[in-house]
Each structure stands twice: as structure tokens, then as C-alpha cells.
């Protein structure tokens, strides 16, 4: 299924992407699965999702936890803890 993935702040800089379209394998159904699948891209990606830093996720503009389910055409975003205000 096709999804859109966005990256922000230090994560955007680490992976050198701000946005990409991904055609996910059918078995990738959750944020955790997507993180693991992206980790296969190489060291930068593996380091990002190795659990040593907090990577928050949103689906369609709503903060979600890692067990949240991804559906076709979702907009998924990865970013560090927020620091506005």
C-alpha cells in the first residue's frame, strides 16, 4: 500500500528527507513495523530507530503510539519530542 512519510527537525536532518512516498509491503501494518522496515535502509536509519532516542509518530496529524495501525494513503510523520512555546 502507498503511504506518505514526513520527517521533521533533527530527524529530517539525519535521514536527509523531508517527505517521501513509500509503497509498503503488505505485512507492514504498524508504526513499529514501519520503523523496523525503514531501519533496513542502513546505519543512519537503524540508529534512528534503535530506541536510544525518542522518535514520536503521527498518523494523519494525530500523535500515535508505536502500535497504531497504518492504512493506505495515510500521512505518517516521524519527529523528535516537540519544543515549541
Amino acid at each position: 500500500m502507498k503511504i506518505k512519510v514526513l520527517y521533521f527537525a533533527r530527524i529530517k536532518e539525519a535521514v536527509n528527507y523531508s517527505t517521501e512516498e513509500i509503497d509498503l509491503p503488505a505485512e507492514i501494518l504498524t508504526i513499529t513495523a514501519l520503523k523496523n522496515w525503514l531501519s533496513l535502509r542502513g546505519e543512519v536509519w537503524a540508529n534512528l530507530f534503535d530506541g536510544k532516542q525518542v522518535v514520536r509518530a503521527a498518523i494523519n496529524h494525530t500523535l500515535v503510539d508505536d502500535l497504531a495501525t497504518i492504512q493506505a494513503n495515510d500521512e505518517v510523520a516521524f519527529f523528535p519530542p516537540v519544543t515549541g512555546g
Binding site: L6, F8, A9, R10, V54, A58, H61, T62, L63, A77, F79, P80, P81, V82, T83, G84, G85
Partner: protein, 150 residues
């Protein structure tokens, strides 16, 4: 219930007057203004750049306002948050709440700020003499949030 995410500065006094003069049933206006400090974590700050997640930012701020309105008897609220590159003494954010009596407005305004700090997708990058660095989220903001848990 208004939200604005903008590059431009804002006239806090004009915004507050507009909010409180909208109704003579308003007795209390509580507001918070955040400004860029010149020192953070011991280093001198040249500029502060705010990145955000367009679309999600606005909906997160609207959700925070709606939650405040559901918890307290407030009459209206306003959030203006700037993005882009700012300097010390520049205004970052204005949160203002009006109500009949002061207690509700104080609580709702602080609630909105505490949620904004931990739920709204903004990220700060500081430029210091030593280069650029992302600002880390603060544990104290997570602790501040806990007081509002139902």
C-alpha cells in the same frame, strides 16, 4: 477559539483588547507571552528558528483549545505562535483566555501552554557562537503536563 501559526510578529495589546472587548460578560483576561531569551543552557543565543508541521500544528492547537473549553467555563481563547527565525526579545507565542471570573481563565491559559509545549509539533533550533543546535525537550514540561491528567 482562534489559532494562528505565522511568520509575522503580532501586536499583543491589540489582540488582547479585541478579545476582551468582544463581550461585556467577560470579567477576566489571562494571557501568556513567550519571548526569545538571550541565553539558554549557558550559551549566548544569536537566533532561534522554529520549524513546525503545517496542518498538524493548527489541528493540534485547535484540539488543545477545545479541550480547555471542555474543562473550564471560558468564553473565548486565542493562540498565536510564530515560526521562522527569531532573535532575543522577539515574541514567540501568545495564549490568551477570557472568562467571567479569573480562576477559570488562569487554569485554562496555563493548561493550553502546558499542552502546547508537549503536544504541538514545533521544534526549536538555536544558533550560538558555537554553531547550530536543536533544543531538547524538557523533562519539566512533561512534569507540568501531569498536573492536568484526569
Amino acid at each position: 477559539m482562534t489559532v494562528s501559526v505565522q511568520v509575522e510578529d503580532f501586536d499583543a495589546g491589540a489582540q488582547l483588547n479585541k478579545l476582551r472587548l468582544a463581550s461585556p460578560s467577560i470579567g477576566a483576561l489571562v494571557s501568556f507571552i513567550g519571548q526569545v531569551r538571550d541565553i539558554n543552557d549557558g550559551d549566548s543565543i544569536n537566533t532561534l528558528t522554529l520549524e513546525h508541521y503545517p496542518g498538524m500544528t493548527e489541528s493540534a492547537l485547535q484540539a488543545i483549545e477545545a479541550e480547555a473549553k471542555s474543562r473550564w467555563d471560558i468564553l473565548d481563547s486565542l493562540i498565536i505562535h510564530r515560526v521562522g527565525t527569531l532573535e532575543p526579545l522577539d515574541q514567540i507565542v501568545l495564549v490568551a483566555v477570557v472568562s467571567a471570573h479569573r480562576g477559570e481563565a488562569f487554569k485554562a491559559c496555563e493548561f493550553i501552554m502546558d499542552f502546547l509545549k508537549t503536544q504541538a509539533p514545533f521544534w526549536k533550533k538555536e544558533a550560538t557562537a558555537q554553531g547550530e543546535r536543536w533544543v531538547d525537550a524538557k523533562l519539566s514540561d512533561d512534569i507540568a503536563l501531569k498536573q492536568w491528567q484526569k
